[in-house]
Amino acid sequence: MNAPSRAAALRAVVDLASDPLPILWPLETAIATNPLWDLRSRGFAGAVSVADRLLGATGYPSDDTLRLAYCEGRITDTDLHSALREYRLSAREEFGVREGPEHFDAAVFNAHHLDGRIDAEVARWCAAFLGGKLPRSSDGFYNAWRHSVSTTLWARRPKAKQLLSRLPPTAAEAAVFCLTLLGIDEHQWRSELTAHLARMPGWAAHAKWRSRWAAPGTPGPALELVDYLAVRLAYATLLGSETSGGSEASGGTARSQTAQSGWRENAPAGLDTIPALAGMDASEKQEIWLRSYEIHYRARLLRALTRQTSSPSQRPPAAQFVFCIDVRSEGLRRHIEASGDYETFGFAGFFGFPVRVHPWNGGSAVDLCPVLLRPTLEVDETPAGGRPASGSALLAAHTGFAGVGPAIEAGRQGEISPYVLAEASGFALGPVAALRTLAPQAFAALRSWVSTKLAPEPRTELNLQGASAPSDDSQALYAETALKTMGLTAGFAPVVVICGHAATTENNPFASALDCGACGAVGGARSARLAADVLNRPRVRQLLRERHIDIPVGTVFVAAEHDTTTDRVRVLDAGSVPPSHARLVENLQEAMSQAGRRLTDERSGDLPGADPSGATSHVSRRSVDWAQLQPEWGLARNASLIVAPRALSAGVDLQRRAFLHSYDPASDEGGLFLETILTGPMVVAHWINAAYYFSAVSPDVYGAGDKAAHNVVAGAGVWQGVGGDLRLGLPRQAVFDGERLYHEPMRLLTVIEAPPTLIDAVIARNAVVEQLVGGAWVHLVCRHEGTWLLKAGDGSWIDLPDGEPPAYPDSAGPVDATLEGLQTSRIGGGQP
């Protein structure tokens, strides 16, 4: 085969080879993902076992976690019985699960035999490249490296010199060239490349994001998979030729050492004493224990939902609220509903408008939609009332202000300038450091006062009319889809509040992980404003009326934002509410603030170091404290997604653990809206759920480590310490409370109110949904005509009377007897 076609063949293999690797978004929009997403077709157990062998990542909660859960009654014997029964159903046959060709054994073997020096060299070149420190970075990583590496001492050795001079000009050709020199045949390429990627999953995950997920034209140096692999292979060739014969893995990473330990059979000692589990292999036992843990939660949730009797009031509500499906909205909704005649809805926080917003001051464009979508609308943000003469003065003030940081950075990076710059600014920064540490709120107030003086934020509006705006028809179309999907098509209250959410945190590299995931890890205020503005436009309402959605003239949509760190809720654009509704909106603002305060009281019990007596002032301080590594719990403990009318869950305390998506099966005969929900919001919820799950069960591989020692690398990720691999997933502080796991690692439980036949039809139409449900990535429970049905692993529906699993027929009591041994070794102080 000739060179170009071999290069093309290599490019095809690279994508396949990266399948078992996670995906890592840059910190600016730290999207929570399922690290095993591209292994989903193998099912949960299959994917986890591949990751175990390849990356040394455990896929199940640890023995200690489970033992503690059992001792505290978090897993009961009944749960174990049910888990066994359900597991046997799924063990027969898992629908939606396909095993791919096995090339992983070779990859695992190869990964252990690669030279550790390759990692050390490649890691620092990757970092320098992403930081924009290398010349010719626009030619791609491989060429930038090739250009600069020639001056290293390394490259002065004759063999290296010779190889470097023979390297072809493109990354793919170079990879083929090196693979040929290494003597690796084409049919071994995939496992060899997987092995190289698995050595440093963090860098590979970044390259995978860049090559397979980033929007074209995403700014910043592009570290592509092919380039990354070409450089790795070049080092492998160099080192191979130097230490020919007896080339042993040297300087292996800590993680590859864990990988080697994962290589052994990993039996959870002490948890396998139940006779019913005898003869099962370790991963089957772990699966059953995990299922018991999940079933316990499920049983309690379904029981609570069954018992709830509060029926929605028949009177028209005084106001309606649309919140994001985020689990943190659940608490606020509950408190708002309790405070008056209010109806609330849940919908993905981009409110159905996948939009790219261009900020008024020329800041970088913001994409507001889940990363599974690409923005299809573009909207300009302008200072209110167009661009007046003062607009340019304002713009100049903002540009001047924004230039200060980079200018000081330029001084810091200069040749002679850093010396006096450091000592001079030290005399100012020393007292500032004391202020920020001792009085964070005073500092925050001072900073906002200064920035308002120097560069005041104008009132802005989103430009929805004119040539550059999306057409009226498309606006109406997105609005129609959103309203119909959430089931809000009639009975509009005088005020409908559309409430996005964002988190206020300080000095936090993972700040975006606490923002709205459905807006692409960005604050949700812009999305809320856009939705409210569109729905307030007479032209859009006219078009909606043609589509049988009649929004009364007396209805006003109002945007709001929920700050999840402080639980402050504020109405945006209160000034543009018509006078007729101003009073009502004021009352709503008061009701939302009240609800927020109650939610804060509720939350403060769990916040480490919180002062429950003054919860409201504590959280305000916490949100601006630069020494705070745990500003809020984020989405920790998320466990379920409820797709149903609010009537199903109203009045139930779901403990901020449920994503709530409004859905009305009565108006969805073809299942089209359900399909939208299961392919969009459910996948987003699953990603978040899986990110928390894996960061909790395998913090060394899928977690980002201790925030106290984080070292931000070029905004792409963090190092733990001085170098090496980028860390994946969520920091330790997001899932652990001290040494104890705070998050409860469980797979997402999706509860849908719809006929099972409709759900089956949607599953059959969508491979991704089939893979998630069939592969046990997501558990599915259906509510239909007063009964609960569970989707079993073989595709059938099992009846769950009152949400409780039926008793396991052949379980007279051996479980109780054999588990005594466990109780003696209990950890912590829970009661058995």
Binding site: A402, I408, A433, E506, A521
Partner: protein
């Protein structure tokens, strides 16, 4: 009868020890004690400014005189810095290390470092200083290593232990030799000490060389560079603590032993090693993309500059740098989580610098130099004004070339820069003249050597990036950055 100055000095030292004992039992109390210690030390500064230098000794007996403390304008100022940064670290880490089960261990070890460095800053006897110096080094190694589970901390502790022990052996040998020749040495009485030191004769060169090695090891210069790069593996508060007298301890040592600083070959060696380390670290920093790594390289460069200032006898400038840089870098480390940009953030275009921009920047530089001048009293002052002017030029050039010409110019920013330069000049004058008032200037190399340093610092990166010299280049520097796998 204890005078007020003596009382506040002793109080600050006693209070500084408390957190080391209390941290594991009464955290709030120990934080309060740390701040009170800093306050007592600041009070001492004021008292010394009014009343003059005092020495607290424990009687006149030959043995008890090993323990004694000395409050002069220099020692009290540096002690205030150390205790202030120490208190800040304590307060910061209460919340920052909230989820760390070993945080009490960190707090008490950090407090030990602070207390021992305060003793280094104020000890009257040479021997006491030496013991506290060694103790502070050991305590710092234990702080770095308190979280053995974090990747890299163990190799950092190992590397620091190795570097420090070389320096410690040198320093203690120097002190033993000096004491053997001269008998117990008291640093508090500088004029008498200077007379004494003349009696050292041929030992003089050896002693100053040994002291220089000790300073280089604590400041991570030359071959001792590695431990500082690795120290970013430790939690952030440990990196802040580093700047409370540990990494800048070398400067403190030379300032306290200023009678050694007369012209000697050792000082020339110090100037060359520190200067080259500084230039090289600046180049390494320019290729580092990780925030903490670049801060650590920057610290090494800054410490090189400070030691160079000491070597040429520019003591007031060195004191100002020691204090100012410690606060600056402590802040930078604490704020190291704030470097990720937010979506929608305004990133000014990196424009090409045009003649117009250069003219504006030049004017700003001149004005800044003028604003900083009123405080100049000596040759080193002029050198510092030159450095200040280059900083102002670099900042304003970057700022103006970011600024599109279509927008109305914003004069307040350049004016602010000039005003800041004036403030800096006044502060540097105040601090330098006050803290350096007991030090004897001159006699060493001329401060104008710092301009040679500046010329080298300016030229080296140009040579590296020019591509004309195939032996040098970005690759060489990338290769020099630490690469340690977790």
């Amino acid at each position: 009868m204890l005078s007020f100055e003596k009382l506040s000095l002793l109080l600050s030292l006693v209070l500084a020890v408390l957190p080391a004992l209390l941290a594991s039992r009464a955290r709030r109390l120990s934080v309060a004690a740390a701040w009170l210690a800093a306050l007592a030390s600041a009070t001492t500064v004021v008292a010394v400014a009014i009343g003059g230098t005092v020495t607290v000794g424990l009687g006149g007996n030959a043995w008890t005189s090993w323990v004694g403390f000395d409050a002069s304008s220099l020692t009290a100022s540096v002690e205030t810095l150390i205790l202030g940064v120490g208190a800040l670290v304590q307060s910061f880490s209460v919340r920052y290390l909230q989820s760390d089960p070993l945080s009490a261990r960190f707090a008490s070890r950090a407090a030990s470092v602070i207390a021992l460095m305060a003793a280094v800053a104020t000890s009257d006897s040479l021997f006491g200083l030496g013991l506290a110096w060694v103790g502070a080094g050991i305590a710092f190694v234990s702080v770095v290593g308190y979280r053995r589970d974090l990747p890299g901390t163990r190799s950092c502790a190992r590397s620091a232990r190795r570097s420090f022990s070389v320096g410690d052996v040198c320093l203690l040998s120097a002190f033993v030799i000096a004491t053997a020749v001269l008998g117990p040495i008291h640093l508090g009485s500088a004029p008498a000490l200077r007379t004494d030191l003349r009696r050292l004769g041929t030992w003089d060169d050896l002693i100053s060389a040994l002291v220089a090695v000790a300073a280089l090891s604590r400041c991570a210069q030359g071959l001792f560079h590695k431990w500082l790069s690795l120290s970013v593996s430790a939690p952030t508060p440990a990196c802040v603590l580093l700047h409370a007298g540990v990494v800048n301890g070398g400067g403190l040592l030379l300032l306290r032993l200023d009678p050694l600083g007369t012209w000697k070959p050792a000082m020339a060696g110090l100037l060359i090693i520190a200067g080259l380390t500084s230039v090289w670290s600046g180049a390494v920093m320019s290729t580092q993309a990780d925030i903490k790594g670049s801060l650590a390289s920057s610290t090494r460069a800054q410490m090189g500059f400070m030691l160079a200032e000491c070597a040429v006898g520019a003591y007031p400038a060195a004191i100002v740098h020691l204090i100012g840089h410690a606060m600056y870098k402590g802040y930078q480390f604490m704020a190291s989580g704030s470097t990720v940009s937010r979506p929608g953030q305004l990133h000014p275009q990196n424009g090409q610098a045009r003649t117009r921009h250069r003219l504006i920047a030049g004017a700003v530089g001149l004005a800044a130099a003028g604003a900083a001048t009123p405080g100049v009293h000596s040759g080193d002052g002029w050198v510092i004004v030159f450095f200040a002017a280059t900083s102002a030029v670099a900042i304003s050039l970057a700022w103006t070339s970011h600024f599109p010409a279509t927008l109305r110019s914003q004069w307040r920013w350049p004016l602010g820069l000039v005003a800041a330069s004036g403030l800096y000049g006044a502060t540097a004058d105040l601090v330098g003249r006050f803290a350096g008032r007991d030090l004897v200037l001159g006699g060493a190399l001329s401060p104008w050597w710092l301009l040679v340093f500046a010329a080298v610092a300016w030229a080296v990166p140009r040579v590296i990036h020019s591509g004309k010299f195939s032996a040098l280049g970005v690759g060489l520097i990338v290769e020099a950055a630490p690469a340690v796998l977790p």
